[in-house]
């Protein structure tokens, strides 16, 4: 099978089953998908449809039950744990719904946690400035609002200059104003750093800023559409 090198991810027949027998949950039922480099991709779908599962697998956090996921032509399914770790360390940034900052580390230290082990990280201060948090670098998570915490999380994710940024419901816990600010940052990361950005959300309006929108339902892809014209985050209805 010919492979398109311009695709950062190629996914074939990806299946994920949790549990066994009667209790088995089919979270992914054979997903086929190609994602070109440098795009913003939005995954939409009802809760429980398998979006996080897919993200976890192509993000190297989890393994598929069956099928194949290629990152730049390398199969993630056959990688050793050690290689998967390397893959995450060198290429992947994560942003989660609940920020998941280390409560015992300041904003700057949370970012340093990642830059210390990255090959070619950006300057920590610069990463924080990119998300508009220049002055609050020495605050602890408990001293910051949800939006600020999420921006630290994004700074932490982009500071390693990732090839791909996975965002699992990054605005889920935020109000519209801060949510929009966060989307701005993601848009900038894509535009300025050229990172592929995959955003899971159930706020359908977010789709307007994507290059590509994937609709998910019941563990499979319903449809994929590409946007001819994209809206800036400011124009998105919330």
């Amino acid at each position: 099978m010919a492979k398109d090198i311009s695709n950062i991810f190629s996914v074939h027949g990806l299946t994920k089953v949790y549990g066994e027998g009667e209790a088995a949950v089919h979270a992914l039922r054979g997903v086929d998908l190609d994602i070109p480099k440098g795009e913003i991709v939005v995954l939409l779908g009802p809760s429980g449809s398998g979006k996080s599962t897919l993200l976890n697998i192509i993000g190297g956090l989890d393994r598929a039950t069956d099928g194949e996921a290629l990152f730049e032509e390398q199969s993630l399914s056959t990688m050793s744990d050690r290689d998967l770790t390397r893959y995450r360390r060198d290429h992947v940034g994560f942003v989660f719904q609940f920020y998941n900052l280390m409560p015992s580390l300041t904003a700057r230290e949370n970012v340093e946690l990642v830059t210390e082990i990255a090959d070619d990280p950006m300057d920590v201060d610069e990463a924080l400035r990119l998300v508009g948090l220049g002055e609050r670098m020495d605050h602890f998570p408990a001293q910051m609002s949800g939006g600020e915490q999420q921006r630290v999380a994004i700074a932490r994710a982009i500071a390693k200059n990732p090839t791909v940024l996975f965002c699992d419901e990054p605005t889920g816990a935020l109000d519209s104003k801060t949510g929009r600010a966060v989307l701005h940052v993601l848009n900038d990361v894509n535009a300025k750093l050229g990172a592929t950005v995959m955003i899971v959300t159930h706020a359908a309006a977010t789709a307007a800023m994507a290059h590509r929108v994937i609709h998910f339902a019941d563990g499979a892809i319903r449809s994929v559409e590409t946007n001819e014209t994209r809206l800036s985050p400011d124009e998105i209805e919330w």
Binding site: D62, V92, F98
Partner: protein, 787 residues
């Protein structure tokens, strides 16, 4: 510093209370290890150095009177490196202003040379001048006890004659590390003295001019002691040999050996208990930490940190706690060891005793402790290692309480909601509860066992001086006297009752097993000095045969019906064969009892007594003492109160004092475990507790949910603690018991009551500390964080 290390330090700071408590437990364990191990090697080395520098003999051979020429014969025995002859005898010192004479050993020093063996360490003053017969050097500890000074006069009765001496020096000697009057086994600096005098003067006093009455023998390196002893005994037999004995049978060395063995046993048993407790505490704290940081662990792994890096991060926390504890413990151990060395030096009258721990054994001890303490955490860390990021990132499912379903139904009817929450948590997680129960029970068992041992010692004393020895004064004679002498005592002022006794020092033998001790002959139905069992019943002495104390029977491996060989060490030195009538459980010493008349009959010495126990009118004591002082046959007079005070001092100093420390430490451990259990329950439930407060529970009700669990844990732990304590007590009592004293193993409710009360007090205190935290919980903040 790396970001992860920042996290490490802040996490440590956050759990500083618990981390500090654990570090302290580690520190106590390491402290005891360093102190005991150091003390042990210091004692062993110091003793060896002291013995060697002052040339302590390997074999002692007392005789009645042997010509000096025999010394050359002894020197020819293969394996003998050096021989010295000396004169030694009993004396009574008449201390000015003191009613009772003090017993003493008078020991000769050669006039024109240094002694080849058993030299003395002159701590003050000068050596004897060879021509002066009235000069003496006095044992330093005795001088200290009576405030004697150089130049003081001393009056002593030797062999019936009163003589005056002038003190020219004070000295210590390796054979008097531990000074006990002959026939007693409790040291008392004030009641026993050693006088060193010129050989000539002493030989004249004891009527052994041109002769010696004790040969000291040093062996060549590697020579076997038994053949030499046999050869010496054969040579000296016709001069009234009392049987040679080796250094290990010398009272002083025996006591210090007991002490060393006691230290060794404690050093092996006790520190590991602390390490186990520390490991257990570390285990639960780290488990809790890892549980609450699941998501963080997943996250760090998601960033690309390897499993090793993440596990190492958490292990570092364990190491920091353990190493800090170990370092603190080493410092404390060296400090405590130095202090203990001073105590030991004073108690055992060493001229020098330097506490030394060599660096390599210190390192070894510290690293073993650290490893042991962190062993438990490795289990938890393996979980960290295996945790995959995807699993870790998912919030853990709410605790499944369905397992307690059947119970729920039954509980519903008669318990309110908070009580049900408490019970469900317990049924949901019995393993964790079990861990806390065990931990607290072990702590309590440890302290109750130690307290039982303490009151066991007290009981031994009470029994010895209330039930066994009911006399007021005991009088011993220089040599066996006709029974009439004892009964004459009844006519002395104030004497109400007299009970004679006959003691015969002897080597007891059963095949290859021997014991150097004595056979005690008692009158039938003795009242003042009785032979009693552990349960306070009289030991019935049979017409024939000997009753042996249990430890003695164990040493000799002998049973009722067997024949005991008694090699008598006095008089005509007969060898008796006596049937063993029974074995008795006694408390103090390792006596062998016979009827006085049957002992005398076997000895073919009718009606002889060697001591007498008196009941006296205390108002007339001074007159009695004055009369006893005038009796030439009286070798020693002991007041029961003095003997008791001496034993109490003995048991409260040296290694004996460790028992008090142990009780304190056991209490600390118990508190540490209880407090940790409370804190952890609080940590696990703080969100739930805050939720309870939000929906309208009062502070008290909320605290109940948390502390109810603690209460149940404690209630379960106490009976288990009693059980553990009971068995531990047997172990410890067996470890502490020697052939010199035994600890009665009777059940002591008061010890368990006190330990239980301590556990409850610790729980109340911990509960109060944690309740303060519950009251302080910031509701909004708790609910905002997601855990």
């Amino acid at each position: 510093m790396s970001a992860l290390n920042h996290k490490l330090l802040r996490d440590l700071w956050r759990i500083k209370g618990q981390a500090g408590a654990i570090a302290l437990v580690v520190a106590v364990g390491v402290m005891l290890l360093v102190m005991m191990a150091g003390m042990l090697s210091s004692l062993v080395e110091t003793r060896a150095a002291y013995y060697e520098r002052y040339r302590l003999a390997d074999v002692f051979a007392p005789v009645t009177r042997a010509p000096l020429s025999m010394l050359d014969r002894i020197a020819e025995i293969p394996g003998v490196a050096a021989v010295e002859g000396r004169v030694q005898g009993g004396a009574l010192i008449d201390m000015a202003g003191q009613a009772l004479p003090v017993r003493a050993s008078a020991v000769s020093l050669p006039a024109h040379r240094v002694p080849k063996l058993n030299a003395i360490y002159l701590s003050e003053g000068r050596m004897l001048s060879p021509t002066r017969t009235e000069e003496v050097i006095v044992l330093q500890s005795f001088a200290d006890a009576h405030g004697l000074r150089l130049g003081d006069e001393l009056t002593a009765t030797m062999y019936g004659a009163r003589r005056s001496f002038r003190i020219v020096g004070f000295a210590m000697a390796p054979e008097y590390l531990f000074t006990t009057a002959p026939g007693e086994f409790v040291p008392d600096s004030a009641r026993f003295a050693v006088l060193w005098m010129n050989e000539e003067a002493l030989a004249a006093a004891y009527d052994v001019e041109g002769a010696f009455n004790e040969a000291l023998i040093a062996l060549e390196r590697g020579a076997r002691v038994e053949p030499v002893m046999a050869a010496v005994d054969a040579l000296l037999d016709r001069y009234g040999s009392l049987g040679s004995y080796e250094r290990a049978d010398h009272m002083s060395d025996r006591f210090i050996s007991e002490e060393i063995e006691g230290l060794r046993a404690t050093a092996v048993v006790v520190p590991p208990i602390f390490m186990a407790v520390a490991a257990f505490l570390l285990y639960i704290v780290i488990t809790r930490l890892v549980q609450s940081e699941r998501e963080q662990i997943g996250l760090i792994k998601a960033f690309g940190y390897t499993d090793w890096e993440v596990s190492w991060h958490y292990f570092k926390m364990v190491l920091v706690i353990a190493i800090l504890g170990a370092l603190l413990g080493s410092v404390l151990g060296i400090w405590a060891g130095r202090y203990m060395a001073l105590v030991y030096q004073k108690f055992y009258h060493f001229p020098f005793l330097v506490f030394r721990v060599d660096a390599s054994s210190l390192m070894m001890g510290v690293s073993v402790s650290v490893l042991a303490a962190s062993a438990g955490s490795l289990v938890v860390l393996s979980r960290v290692f295996r945790l995959t990021p995807a699993v870790a990132m998912r919030p853990p499912a709410p605790m499944d309480f369905s397992r307690s379903g059947a119970i729920n139904e039954r509980l519903k009817n008669w318990l309110d909601q908070p009580s049900r929450m408490v019970l469900r948590r317990i049924f949901r997680n019995p393993g964790r509860i079990f861990g806390s129960v065990i931990g607290i029970a072990v702590g309590m068992g440890l302290s109750s066992a130690q307290m039982s041992v303490l009151s066991g010692f007290d009981e031994t004393l009470d029994l010895t001086f209330g039930v066994i020895d009911r006399s007021d004064v005991s009088v011993s004679f220089f040599e066996p006297m006709p029974a009439k002498t004892a009964f004459d005592l009844a006519h002395l002022p104030g004497v109400i009752e007299v009970e004679p006794t006959r003691g015969v020092s002897a080597v007891l033998r059963n095949g290859l097993h021997t014991y150097r001790g004595a056979v005690t002959g008692l009158v039938d139905q003795a009242q003042l000095n009785r032979a009693v069992n552990k349960d306070m019943s009289d030991i019935v002495l049979p017409e024939n045969g000997v009753v042996l104390a249990k430890p003695l029977a164990d040493i000799l491996q002998i049973a009722p019906g067997d024949t005991l060989v008694v090699e008598v060490l006095e008089g005509k030195r007969p060898v008796l064969e006596v049937p063993v009538a029974s074995i008795a459980e006694t408390l103090l010493g390792s006596p062998a009892f016979m009827r006085m008349d049957s002992l005398n009959r076997d000895m073919a010495e009718w009606g002889r007594v060697s001591a007498a126990y008196l009941r006296v009118d205390s108002d007339q004591l001074p007159a009695l003492y004055a009369a006893l002082k005038e009796m030439p046959s009286v070798a020693g007079v002991t007041r029961r109160e003095d003997a008791r005070a001496a034993i109490e001092t003995l048991m409260d100093s040296g290694a004996g004092s460790m028992r008090y420390v142990m009780v304190a430490i056991a209490a600390i451990i118990t508190f540490g475990i209880v407090y940790n259990a409370a804190r952890i329950a609080f940590g696990e439930q703080s969100r739930d507790l805050a939720s309870l407060r939000v929906i309208g529970f009062t502070r008290g009700e909320t605290a109940f949910v948390l502390l109810g669990e603690l209460a149940i844990v404690v209630l379960l732990a106490i009976p288990l603690g009693v059980l553990i304590g009971y068995y531990l007590f047997f172990l410890i009592a067996a470890g502490f018991s020697t052939d010199i004293y035994q600890i009665p193993t009777t059940f002591r409710p008061e010890a368990y009551g006190m330990a239980g009360a301590a556990v409850i007090a610790a729980s109340v205190l911990s509960g109060w500390l944690v309740k303060r935290d519950i009251d302080k919980v910031d509701l909004v903040a708790t609910l905002k964080t997601r855990e």
